[in-house]
Each structure stands twice: as C-alpha cells, then as structure tokens.
Amino acid sequence: MSGATDHTGIQPGEVTAFLTDSTLCIGCKACEVACKEWNGISADGYDFTGWSYDNTAALGHSTWRHVKFVEGHITPGIGGNSAQQLSWEFSSDVCKHCEVAGCLEACPTGSLVRTEFGSVLLQPDICNGCSYCVISCPFGVVQKNEDDGRAFKCTFCTDRQKGGLMPACAKACPTESIKFGRLDDLQVEAQVRLATLQARGMSDAQIYDPTETSVKGIHAMFIIRGEAETYNLPPKPEVPTIYLKDAWKSAAFEAVAMVGAVVASFFFLGRKG
C-alpha cells in the first residue's frame, strides 16, 4: 500500500479498530516513536531491561505503543516465519479500547468518554487525577503521570481520525502489521488471516479478542503466535463493573444492619436509669 492516499474515507459514527498482526511485525518500533512524536509524549526512562530488545517494558502514561519481544527456540535452518516453531516474536501492544471499558465505567469526572469512532478517549482537560481508572483496567493500560497529575493513555489518535487520517502508529508501520479500519471489516480480516496462517501450518496462531468475557470484545485486536499469557494478555479479562451488584447488595445489607443496631442499642440501652 505504498503511496496510498492519506484519507481513510471513514466517517464519524463508524466504529474503527486496530488489527495488530504479529506475523507481519519486524520489531522496528516505528509505532512507538510515531505515537510519541505525534502526541508530544515524553520519554519515560532510559533503563536497560535485558528483556531481549524490549527496553520499553510496558504501556503506561508515557508509552502508548509497546513492542514486545519474545524469544523462543532458535534452530539452524528454521527462520521465524516457519510454521515449525516460535523463534522470535514481536507484538505491538496498545490500549484495547474495550467494547465495555473498565476505565470508562470507573471515571467519575466524565473525562473518559466513548468517541464517535467507538474509541475510549481520556480527555486531559477534564481529568483531575483521581486514578480510579488505573485500577479499573483489566489490561493494565492506563496510568497516572505523577509529575503531571493526570492519567493518560492511547487516544486512538481521535484527533487524526477526525481529520480523516489513520492513527500515527498505523501510518508509520512499514509492513502494515498495524492495520486500521472499520471494526467489522477488521474482524472479518482477522478471521481470513487466521485461516491463511493455519493453512500454512501455523497451528499456534490465534486472534486475541476476548468477546466471551464481560469486556465483550476489544477494538484493538491482535493476531499472535503462541499463548496469550506469553504476551501478558489476560486470558479472561473482566470489566470490574461485574462486581458491583454483589458489592452494593452487601453494602446495603450492612448499612441496614448498622442503622438497626444503632436504633436497637439506643432504644434499649440509651436511657439513663
């Protein structure tokens, strides 16, 4: 798609998505850099991790794209694209923009909203840094910047999308490993791609899109080889609102009991003499 026209032709109201296909990733980290450049995010640490070529370590308030490096078996004669084994996998992580998003449900200021593109946007001019979203994300994405005071995460380049452009990471990716488009199109494409990979013998390939959980699917889907756990992708992520019913029931019960106890205590024992 070299030289493709810039405008995506996607209208506000159409739900967009990422399909990040590790089998096309070359581990160049252009996505990490393009994201930081476009969004004006600062560097967040110069620490050597020793984790293969990944010194970024995790998503956070100042890292919204993170390329993971997983080393497997290295055998002479077998290249990484071989179906025979997993040699060295690269997978670019990003905010999942969940269909039912824990951070969005938790946000008390209305900073986190669902945009017209179906993405989950954290509006920094409203956020007051209560950091409740941070502990409500089952994927460990959003984080408060202690120096700034507010929480930050991937914006899905909503500003670019409003201008009819694709997100910076997808634009920079040289091999189109990061695919951007309409959610329903990409869901189909993911299935087609999976079938292609499996036909090539890559029985270890899978689509990561937890539709069967309370998250009800993510708008940033992944095609990975191997197990989700290897990439720190939770096999059964849940949106924490599923715990609310039990919690409030319990609270209500105790509250009534508390009032009852107060009433009873003072009624029976609250009189002098």
Partner: protein, 871 residues
Amino acid sequence: MPGLGTSVGRGGATTAQQSLADSDAILIMGSSMAEQHPVGFQWVVEAREHGCKVIHVDPRFTRTSACADIWVPLRAGSDIVFLGGLIHYVLGNDKWFKEYVVHYTNASTILRDDYVDAEDAGGLFSGWDAEKKQYSPETWLYKGSEPKKDGGQAAPGHHPAGGGHAKDRGGEAGKTSQFETDETLQHPRCVFQVLKRHFARYTPEMVEQSCGVPRDVFLKVAETYAAASGRSKTGCICYAVGWTQHSTGVQIIRAAAILQLLLGNFGRPGGGILALRGHASIQGSTDIPTLYDILPGYMPMPFFDSDSKTFEQYIKQHSTEAGLWTKFEDFMVSFLKAWYGDAATKDSQWGFNFLPRVTGDHSELGYWLDMADGKLEGLFVMGQNPAVGAPNGRLQRKAMANLKWLVVRDLVEIETASFWKDSPEIERGELRTEDIATEVFLMPAAGPAEKSGSFTNTQRLLQWHNKAVEPPGDARSELWFAYHLGRMLKERAARERTPKNAALNALTWDLPTEGAVAEPVAEVTLAEINGRDLTTGKLLSTFEDLKRDGTTMSGCWIYTGVKPDEHRNVANERSAHDALGHGWGFAWPKDTRIIYNRASAAPDGSPWSEEKKFVWWDSEKREWTGKDITDFKKDMPPDHKRDLSKGGLEAIDGDKPFGMHSDGRGWLYVNSGLKDGPLPTHFEPLESPVENQLYPAHQSNPPSDKKERPDNPYASSPHDPRFPLVLTTYRLTEHHTAGGMSRALSHLSELQPELFVEISPELAEITGVSPGDWATIVTPRALISARALITSRMIPPVIKGRRIHQVGLPYHWGWKGIVTGDVANDLLAISQEPNVRIMETKGLVCNLISGRHPAGHAALDELHEILEEQR
C-alpha cells in the same frame, strides 16, 4: 561498488526495493535488512506473503531472521565459502539458466594460455608480485585482448593509489572488445570451465567444515534459491555492509554476482542484486562523490603519472571502443564545462589541469594514519563522527590532536568535536587538554527539514526535500557552507592571481542566493548537475545529448534528466503511477528502475515468460518497450550485430544487455580492475581463530593491507590464545550509526539506552557473565564494557570439532548525548580491503571477561596485562 561494477557495469543496486515483491526467492546475507531498511523490507514481507521464500544468512538470529523462512547461522567471515558452495551446487546440478548464461554472460569467452587460477597455485592467481604485494592483470585478460600498456605505473584500474571506485566497470587493462568464444562452453579455457574448476572444492562438506553450516541446511538453501531461476522465476540477493566491511568484501559481492548471472536474475523483475546502502543519501555521496578517487558520475580522478599528463591520454586510458563508456569524453568535457565554464576550452584542454591529481592513498583511513603521523594540518568533518564511527577509535581521536585545525559541522556537539576535553583519552590521561594544540571549530548544521536539497537512496532514487522551517540561530545547510566558503576563497584568489590559484579563479561559482542568510537556491545547483545545452541555454533531458565539443555542460551525467526543463524537478514529483514508483522521484540513469533490463527479454527480444514480462522488443514500432525505461538503445533491434566503427551501444550486439561493458556481457570472470583477482577466492578475515581450510598457504587476502603498526596492533592468526572468540559488529534499528542523530533524541535513546553485547548462554556460563550484568570485551586495540544480553540467538558454529563462540556488539554509543556508553569501534583495527580500502568490522577476534573495566588509566593497564600474557 567494484564488486557489482566489474560484474555488470555499474557499482550500485541493480533494482528497486519495490521489485522484491515479484521475487520467488530472496537471499539476504551480509545484511539485516528488516532492521536497517525497515521501510524497504515491506516488499520482502509482501513477497513472502505471496509465497516467496526468504532466506537469511547471518552469524546471529536477528530481526530479519525472525521474518525469514530459513535462517542460516554463518561463521562470520566465511561468506565466500558459502556463496562458492551455492555456485558449485548450481553448476554441479545443472541449475544454471542456460540461454541467459550463454548469451548474456562471458561464460563462453576464452582465456589466455598463461592464465593460472588460484585453485592451481594454492590461492594465488598468475601475475602476483610478492614484493610489491600486488597483481598484474595481464595474464587475466581475454585471449586476443591486447593489453593497454602505454603510460602509468600500473595497468589501468590497478593503480596502487586507487580506491576502486573509478567507473568500476573493470576491463580497462586490455581491449575487452577483442575476444574469442566457444558457445558450447566446452573449451577447457573458457570462463565457464574455469569457473567450474575454480569452485570445485566449495562442496557442501566444505561449507559445513568452514562455515559451520549443517550440510542439510546448506542444501535446503541451495535447492530453494536455485529453484527461483529460469524463464518464469527470479530471485534477488540483498546485501549491505555485512559483506562490504570485510578484507574480501568486493570478492564476496562478486560471488553473489556470479550466482545471479548463472541463475539469470539480473535485469529482471524480482531479480538482481540490491546493494542496501545505509544513509538517506549515501548513494548520493558516491554519485556526487566525497571519495578521493572519483569525479561525479563515477569518472576517475586523474592519477599523478603519465596517465594524466594530457587530457587526450587520460581519455584514451579510460574510454572504451564499445559500450556506453565510448561516450566518456562527452561526459568528461561536459563535466569540466560545468566546473570551469568559460575557462574550459579546447585549447585549455577543457581545464583538465585544474583538477588535482591523486598521488597516494588519500582514502579516509589513509589520510587518517597520515594525520596520526602528524602529516595533516587541517580537516573538515561534516555530518560524520569518526571519533565513534571509525575503526580503532583510540587512534582516530589521538590523531586529531595532531591537527592544526579541525572544523566539525553537525546538529549537536558530537564526540569528534569534543575529543579534546572529554574523550576516554582525556579520562585516561593519554591526552591532556592543555597539550592539544588543535583549534576546533564547531559549526552548527541545519537539519533535513531546514534546508532544500535531494537525497539519493540505495535504489539510485533522487528524492527532493523542501525546506519547511528556517534553521535556528547560526545553523546553516551544507550548501550554504560550501558555497560561501568557496565564495570567500575565490574572492581571495581573485586578489592573488598566482598559478596555484588558477583553478579557484577558473571555477564557476555563481549561484543565486535568497533569504536573510543568503541561502543558495538548491534547484539551481540541481540544474547545473542535470546539465544544459550551452548554445540554446535549455536544460537537457538525457545524457545521450552530452557532447565533447564544449557545447554542453553537466555536473553529473548520470543525473541528467532529473531536471529536464525549468518547470520540472522530477526528484520532487510524488505521483507514483506504477508498482515500481515511476512518477515518484528520479532513478538514475534516465529514471530506469531496474537496470540491465534488456536481460528481462530473451535474445530474440520476446519476454522470457508472461509472469516475468518486463521489457521487450516491439517489432511493429521497431523499439523496446515495457514497464520501465529501457536500459539499452531504444531503437536497436535484438538481432543487431555489433559495429565497432560506430562505438557506443551500437558496438555491442543487440542481445547483450550489459552496455557498460565493451563486450556487452555480464562478467562471471573479471579480466581486470580488481586488485585481488578475477574470481572470488576464500580467505579468512585478517584476524581469525580458524585456518584457511581451502588455501592453507595464504591465511588472509594477499593484497589486503593490515596497516599494522604499534598503534594499530593485530592478534596473530590463527590461534591467538589471548583472543579465542570471534567478534562481529552491527547496527540496530533504533540508533543511527555513531549516535549523533539518535543519542541526542529522547524517543530513540529510550528504545536502546545502553551498549549491550550479545552472547550465547554457553559462552555466558564459560565466562561467568550474568544476564544484564557488565562484561568486558578485549581486542589488541582496546577494551570496552557492555551490558550482557544473553540469548540463544547466538549459536556457536562448530569448525573442525571446535565450538567457535561469537560475540556481537552494536556500535552506536559514545560518551555524549542522553544515553552514553563505551565506543565499540575502539576494538576494531584499521585495515584496508585491496580495492576500496574499507576496514574489516564484521569478523575479528576478541576475548570476553566478566565484570566492568576500571575507570581511568587502570583500564589501559588491564589491557596491557592481557596483551602481554601468553604471547
């Protein structure tokens, strides 16, 4: 460059990266393309997704190997054995593309009776002068080719001061248009049979023994790659400095060229050789050269001997009677007209004597050693950081202390500019700031968005970039700097009209300038480079219109066509209208994307197949047509028989695609022009723990130059017990060469913050190095420390029952910037490959010690101790 230049005629990539999408097999070797050319690599991935097999041969399993179908772990430095093995396989199993080989290569050409091959002489070809340590190519010439003998100390192309880039088309030592052939390829002295005998011992077993590549893996590669050949299949070979930065670099590339010629891949979609050059404009920096031995368009700088006493002699020496170089005089005169304008007349020999003459080894490593010996007064360092990027960093930095003045132009204060106050030499007390008399000028440079100009990238593509913002403060572009410096020098020369200043006074130097800081108009320079008809004033659109009578001028004949009229700058055009990118930028020559594309058609002019149809003869219109500009004479029919009286392209047959050569053929065998032999022969790197199993009498490349001296010491080879490991250095995607442009940026620095060394778990255990901890790497030149990245991607090859452990180091770090580290290139030696004088960085020896080296002078004491033990 001479590797490709002598084989096929031009020393650059023969195809466009986009064409990789049409390959049936891609062999990436001497390169980690996915890491260093990530954008170009998208076409490799595209090809792979359509069934193309990608093979990566590399001592390490890199990010490229992770995207390949087959990875071959290779012992660093054994590339010729591997490629020779592939050649042997192709010849032995009849996998060569017969029609292509017979018609398009010099396979049928017969050699002289007194030619002796390296196979028959223990590693040396005929013509070796052991005293001078050089070859005379006379016995290599074709039978019947008259040697060019007049003038000069050495045969043309073999000048001892040469740097190998001069027109790199080889064959200048004799009249290459004179030869005999045997089209049946049976004659015992025909190139084909000589080739077979030369590679007879490069068997799969030898590959296993010498490269450490298991036999079955090698055969898998051979089968896979050889299958991508023939009428309807093509394969491409991609290489980079993993090949060139070897003492046998040029011959490694020659071996690849031989393979591609045998398989019939040049000039065809999905075929050819992609020489992957590094920087945004590295190709441009040799097209409009910053190299000492060439002029723009790969014309030779005149050498200081009788070759250059008269213009006529010089032209005779370097012209050919057949092929495109017949027009050499047209190019040269036009070039001199561009530089010297009215002062270039027939009577003044077109200003030929204004050009300086090469008197010795003026290559970077050559003059740097002169600098170390106190023979150089001043130096301009522009957009380079030798204190970190050049071999033997300690010598590099100490040498600069001998200069009287140094001018550094860069975007930030790089290590080269501050060596006098904070280099390791200062820290260790080897140099003291107060004793360094060098006057250092640091001039701020404008970045790419702050100036207009062009880049010429690895596929010969010129792309213009427009100035978007003004440079800050005093930062200026290169064009501004060079122009105004020249202007001021010319003003001085105008006041002192001495013979010494004649050249300066004659130089045309009037560029219009614009803006507050008088920035020269870059497009005007481009127009001068493109060329004009001086009688009409009109810009030229093709180098074919250049004349030798002084009526045309062109600063660089290969670029002619980039600015064909006042309103067009083809380099600035951005509407690609086909898969190869026509309409986007300008690929020299003449916007040809795949050169030698006559070879994409059969001898009779019809396409080889429907699948690989590319350029073909239209018998109705009587012209060549197709998907690219034809790299051939457009109206010359396929059945044309050569007419030597006409010269030029008409002096070669209509079925000969390699028009830069006077026989029009691709050269399996190079009859002259390469100082280390007409055929690739395996020699070990200058430092190696292993003997040369093929030619035990000659461990390393005989004409290569170690430049061994007390400040540039070597390990003894083979078997120096102090240095039992193999060291290889390389790049990472995240950083830019010597780090000036990446370690000053936070977003890149955080991706790879520290210098690390890659070693296998086995080696880590042997040396006691813990994951992530410090390890010290030692060579005879220096010791440095790096963080240990222990990985199973480093697999020690087994050579004759011995595990040869390999150590990998990226070389981006220096002591300045956001992230810092030791300078890896301090470990390397200065050495010179015989043709292009490039240093060997890809295979040398070292040792590895757990822990971090001490600070200050104690580090040198430690190095000294190690060097002294067990000599």
